[in-house]
Subunit: 218 residues, 2 copies
């Protein structure tokens, strides 16, 4: 199973036992989350902006309006840090400072490259829609030339990448458990609820299976 | 109802109709999430690190090991950007580019101040535990002096703050709906699952109500 090579920027420093560079594990986290936070710097001030991405093989695509600051900044070649975090649970310990959270997080450092070829942009747009919900591209109107021109697509090579994962229960010393408090984990899950039909939509259309049975990753 | 005053750094530029500075709405988002992403700059490189926070009135507290880069950087007075995002749904549109997500996100810009007074640190630690799960402080061993010394607590005044919120269905033109695709929203929810008892914990302890009925905000 292949691993990313840690760099000075992605090597996990704090609690290194939680660090992992395993490619398959990292791809699974990215594919489940599909919402990330991107940090970048403008005039020495850090900004963090949430956005969507799609992973295709060993790269991510980002997209957004050509007018947006995030896209313009990243397209200029500015360095960025992309962060994804899935909260998996709350860890209840017998001690105040022993409380923790279970999570899976990924960090991607790098620079983005703009995709300008219209066919490549269209393919990336298809990847976006299919990453959010498989089978959807065939069910909707594809982008017009004007819509494509107004959308910026950036490619982010997955090279400088690391993850941190915490699982399991509290790690306090055995004698701390003598207090008798209930200890354990409250698991958390991000999950799809019952779909809601658009009042302007086709009221006669049967809900397709990809909507009715939605789960991550797609 | 009071509002934050937008600054050049927090004024919502893209899709300003989604921007809000409403204090009560922003506090509700912060209180539901309790996991944030903090962007900061070291040697001109942006980093984004996930962490927990607690909101107490008009400020946030952050905490972490005194050895961590995030805490040390913020304690030095470096500017940061704190971002919180709750994904509320996937918006299925009749057009490829009309697809979107419903979300609530908050951005806090600023500088942090270190809390050094031991009593104030202890009070903040209590706030942390109670913010994660109400009633827990009384059930566990409080921090020792050594644990307190190893923990850095930072206060972040909530001054430069804004939010973006998207709700509802697709906003395509009416004629786009003629295609007949199923359109609507798949709501998403972050929710607590059945708690799991720690094998080292008190197997006779009854699960307390604050664990059994956990929901956000606390």
């Amino acid at each position: 199973m292949s691993e990313f090579t840690p760099t000075v920027r992605t090597k996990v420093q704090r609690k290194p036992d939680r660090g992992t560079y395993d490619r398959e594990l990292i791809y699974n986290i990215l594919d489940e989350a599909f919402v990330c936070q991107i940090g970048f710097v403008v005039d020495a001030v850090p900004y963090v902006v949430p956005t969507n991405y799609v992973r295709v093989g060993d790269k991510l695509f980002l997209h957004g309006s050509t007018a947006g600051r995030l896209m313009r900044t990243l397209a200029s070649g500015a360095p960025f840090c992309l962060s994804v975090t899935l909260l998996d649970g709350i860890v209840l310990s017998p001690t105040a400072t022993g409380h923790s959270v279970n999570y899976r997080s990924v960090v991607v450092m790098g620079k983005a490259e703009q995709i300008t070829d219209p066919q490549a942009k269209l393919a990336a747009m298809r990847d976006f829609v299919e990453y959010v919900i498989r089978g959807r591209w065939a069910q909707v109107r594809p982008p017009s030339d004007q819509e494509l021109r107004g959308t910026m697509v950036l490619a982010v090579p997955l090279v400088e990448v690391s993850a941190k994962v915490r699982t399991g229960f509290a790690v306090d010393d055995d004698e701390e458990y003598a207090g008798g408090a209930w200890t354990g984990v409250i698991p958390f899950k991000w999950s799809a609820q019952t779909p809601v039909l658009d009042p302007r939509g086709n009221q006669a259309a049967q809900m397709p299976a990809n909507v009715a049975n939605y789960s991550r990753p797609q």
